[in-house]
């Protein structure tokens, strides 16, 4: 029952996201038929009503907004996201082709960020002033790095100078390494900062001292007792990060010539391709929802007390 409710609310969130996008795009100044005409001609002019009539007719831009909205929402329940105004293909196909590279990029970036963050945390928290300071500085620094800068530096060093990875690797394995690092490094800084704080507090807890008095090694204490507590805030953060990474991926995709829904979204918004933009938002909303469900599950797995409560 509880899961059914969760599922229902998840569906509601996704529909709400699609609806908000739908109306937000209508609120943007400018006329859709005009945009399409200008897109087809590379101009920025006004067109006469007769010139715009065929497009208005074709896409139903003249229909009342309520009709357009209902058409859109009922389409969603049939699994029909509409047809891209500009690419003339079903939106499902436009997004479908780009979803896997985006998910690969973001999920890998999240995993790598976790490894980097945990590694730094385990090795540097309360390891003396120098190491602790180094770890904290590293986290603060990487967390504030812009993606574009990280991407270009990685590109110049590893692709151009050392020639280890390709500049434009598309979706190939080697080509994915630098894009993943571009997203993972700043995220690792965030995750690390959150974990470090918690880690420090937990290390001072009485049960840690108890564990030590039982003769447990320092590494085992850190791994088995402290980490379990310390990662909870970072797990929460990950639910957010997965969604945020999808939208942040566009810069990385641009630098490394990689396909992905980030680029699709930017182009769609830019050209007022409403069905496509709404479709991408729908997908990103779904990713958020799924990620947060996963976070809930992960909580249970990490903290046995939560399991018993359910």
């Amino acid at each position: 029952m509880r899961y059914l409710l969760k599922l229902l609310s998840a569906v509601a969130v996704v529909i709400a996201a699609a609806s908000v996008t739908f109306f937000a795009q209508l609120a943007v100044p400018g006329d859709r038929a005009t945009t399409l005409m200008n897109l087809q001609t590379g101009q920025d002019r006004k067109w006469t009503a007769e010139e715009l009539a065929p497009l208005n007719e074709k896409y139903g831009f003249d229909d009342p907004i309520v009709v357009q909205y209902l058409d859109y929402v009922t389409g969603l329940f049939r699994g029909d996201l509409g047809t891209s105004y500009t690419q003339k293909r079903p939106v499902l196909e436009v997004i479908g082709g780009q979803l896997l590279p985006s998910l690969t990029l973001t999920v890998l970036a999240l995993v790598v960020a976790w490894f980097l963050a945990l590694g730094v945390t385990l090795l540097t928290v309360r390891r003396g002033r120098f190491l602790s300071g180094l770890g904290a500085t590293w986290e603060a620094m990487t967390a504030s790095l812009p993606h574009y800068w990280v991407g270009i530096v990685l590109l110049v060093v590893f692709a151009v100078q050392l020639r280890v990875f390709p500049v434009i690797g598309g979706t190939s394995g080697w080509g994915t390494v630098l894009p993943v690092l571009t997203l993972a490094i700043p995220l690792a800084g965030f995750v690390g900062q959150v974990t470090r704080e918690e880690f420090e507090q937990v290390l001072a807890q009485p049960f840690v001292t108890t564990a030590r008095t039982r003769g447990m090694s320092d590494l085992a204490v850190r791994l088995r007792h402290v980490l379990r507590h310390a990662v909870l805030p970072a797990v929460t953060l990950s639910g957010w990060a997965l969604g945020a990474l999808i939208s942040g991926a566009v810069i990385t995709e641009n630098i490394f010539g990689r396909p992905g829904i980030g680029q699709v979204l930017v182009t769609a918004v830019d050209t007022r391709d409403m069905p496509t933009a709404s479709g991408v938002v729908l997908v990103v909303a779904t990713v958020y929802v799924v990620a947060n469900l996963l976070v809930d599950l992960a909580y249970g797995a990490i903290d046995p007390r939560l399991r018993r409560a359910t």
Binding site: Q40, T41, T48, G97, Q161, V167, I168
Partner: protein, 540 residues
């Protein structure tokens, strides 16, 4: 603000230089020609469809579709799908003789009926609005006389007609394929008779073009006779300039478009470089003559005098992109009026004098006012698609100079959605807006500058400048059979626009390419600067 921008540009420039140093020198010159291979081409923007009325579509449709005629380096019209043509004495009928036995890649013949269908599709069925607007008031009908002769009749004589149909928008498609397939296939894989066919479009990444082994219809300007020498072209979309240029250095690509201007010097020493100055309307300001301070000619002229446009352009683009003082047409356009281009050289004293005379007095903050209203100029520009970061820097430099003579220029960056969606279409929304329109003929003046009337509104006249003398001069030039006489008239038209400061020049629209040393005979077609790959070959 300025300083911050410069700082960022500096970092990127330094990284770009570093990117350049790392790459090894390619084997230069000579080498034995090879058959086959795959050209990797780094383009910038991905178009929504392979063909259409936007130049981004013409770039790629040129690889797949052939035209009737083509433009040679010297500006003459040369055969392509049409081997010859005749013009009726009154100048209103063009009869083209088509090359025989040419087939579209779906196997259907490129015959007169097919050509006539294409003209009808562009002009009457909304198939290509740029093709339509190029020859609009003049086109009457296209009819197939017999299988190999097509007649195009015009309403009035229009000698630029032949030049205009050399543009990529006029690529001939198979009517059979077009009518029997859906919108999606026509968008992604148009069927022509060109040197390549679209094999696959990996959206967001690349279009793979495969050689058309049965190619017979190369233009007279081709560098070799026969089908493409390479097997494939991978037309990649690499939006970022650093990685696009770097990919050439690491050997991942062979040709790149839009070489970052900071890298141009480096590119010249390491690769074959091609710079193409696009004919047509340059990147120049439309000046709103209908409402606001620019309704006064003296204020428009003061605006033109008030900034050192030439130096700003040269500094902003590292000397790669030429300044263009002529707002009407660029220096590579036939009939260019070089004298008119010299007007309004930087003269702040003159700008101030003009403004004083016009009644704009300087206030305490240096901004001029008249009747209590400040001299505020809304300058709307397309950020990140018409204007790159470098272009935006040019505007910022000029903004400072305009301020010194008393203009309060507000730079308003507009997204493509805003600009193309019509947010800044109304005269009340802007005072000046820079834009360009490529065309191989000075008849572009007619499209941009002809007066807007109730019966024939002209949305392209973004200066809202309705000058009947100008309209008549361009109209006469368009119908003039004698080329020298026509150019004289076009020259007069440019002078009128410049004298009235209905537009203000800035820089030419350019295309730059860098080509690896081991790839030969990549060339640009003349009308719009599209790369041609069907003659290119690798050497070893």
């Amino acid at each position: 603000m300025m300083k911050k921008l410069r700082g960022k540009a500096g970092i990127v420039a330094a990284l770009l230089l570093l990117a350049g140093c790392g790459a090894g020198a390619d084997a230069a010159g000579g080498g034995t020609p090879q058959t086959g291979g795959t050209i990797v081409y780094g383009h910038v923007q991905e178009p929504p469809c392979i063909f259409g009325g936007w130049i981004q579509q013409a770039y790629i449709s040129r690889q797949v579709l052939d035209g009737l005629v083509t433009l040679a380096e010297d500006g003459s019209i040369q055969p392509w799908l049409a081997t010859s043509w005749t013009v009726s004495p009154d100048g209103t009928k063009y009869t083209f003789t088509l090359k025989e036995n040419v087939k579209f890649t779906d196997g259907t013949p490129v015959d007169a009926a097919a050509v006539a269908w294409n003209f009808d599709y562009w002009e009457n069925k909304g198939g290509n609005s740029t093709a339509k607007v190029s020859i609009d008031p003049y086109f009457k009908a296209a009819t197939a006389v017999d299988a190999t002769h097509v007649e195009i009749s015009l309403t009035r004589p229009f000698p630029p007609f032949l030049t205009l149909i050399t543009q990529g928008y006029f690529g001939i498609q198979s009517p059979t394929a077009f009518q029997s397939r859906g919108e999606k296939e026509n968008c992604e894989k148009p069927i022509g008779s060109g040197g390549f066919v679209v094999e696959e479009w990996k959206h967001g990444e690349e279009v793979i073009l495969a050689k058309n082994p049965n190619y017979t219809s190369w233009p007279a300007t081709a560098k070799h006779q026969g089908p493409a020498i390479v097997d494939k072209v991978r037309w990649k979309f690499i939006a970022d300039g650093v990685s696009r240029y770097s990919s050439l250095g690491t050997g991942e690509s062979h040709v790149v478009y839009e070489v970052p201007t900071v890298n141009w010097k480096d590119a010249k020493t390491r690769y074959q470089t091609i710079r193409y100055i696009t004919p047509g309307k340059p990147v120049s300001f439309y000046i709103n003559t209908k409402t606001g301070p620019f309704t006064d000619r003296a204020v428009r002229q003061a605006f033109a005098y008030g900034a050192d446009r030439k130096s700003a352009v040269e500094a902003g683009f590292h000397g790669v992109i030429p300044y263009e003082g002529n707002p009407a047409v660029s220096q590579s356009t036939p009939g260019y009026n070089a004298e008119a281009a010299k007007a309004y050289a930087y003269d702040p004293a003159k700008a101030e004098a003009l403004l004083e005379q016009a009644g704009w007095a300087k206030g305490g903050d240096g901004i001029r006012t008249k009747d209590g209203k400040p001299l505020t100029i809304k300058l709307v520009y397309g950020a990140a698609f018409i204007f790159t970061q470098e272009g935006a820097t040019v505007l910022q430099v000029m903004q400072e100079q305009w301020k010194k003579v008393g203009f309060d220029v507000k730079l308003i960056p507009a997204t493509r959605a805003e600009l193309w969606g019509g947010k800044y279409a109304d005269p009340s929304t802007f005072d000046a807006t820079p834009s360009y329109w490529t065309s191989p003929s000075p008849s572009i003046l007619w499209i941009v500058w002809r007066p807007s009337t109730v019966e024939r509104p002209n949305g392209s006249n973004r200066s809202f400048y309705n000058n009947d003398t100008l309209g008549q001069t361009i109209d006469r030039a368009n119908g003039e059979q004698d080329a020298a006489q026509a150019n004289a008239l076009y020259g007069q038209a440019q002078q009128i626009i410049q004298d009235d400061a209905a537009g203000i020049g800035l820089y030419t629209q350019n295309s730059t390419y860098a080509v690896a040393q081991n790839l030969k005979d990549v060339w640009l077609e003349k009308s719009q600067g599209e790369p041609v790959f069907s003659d290119a070959y690798f050497t070893r």
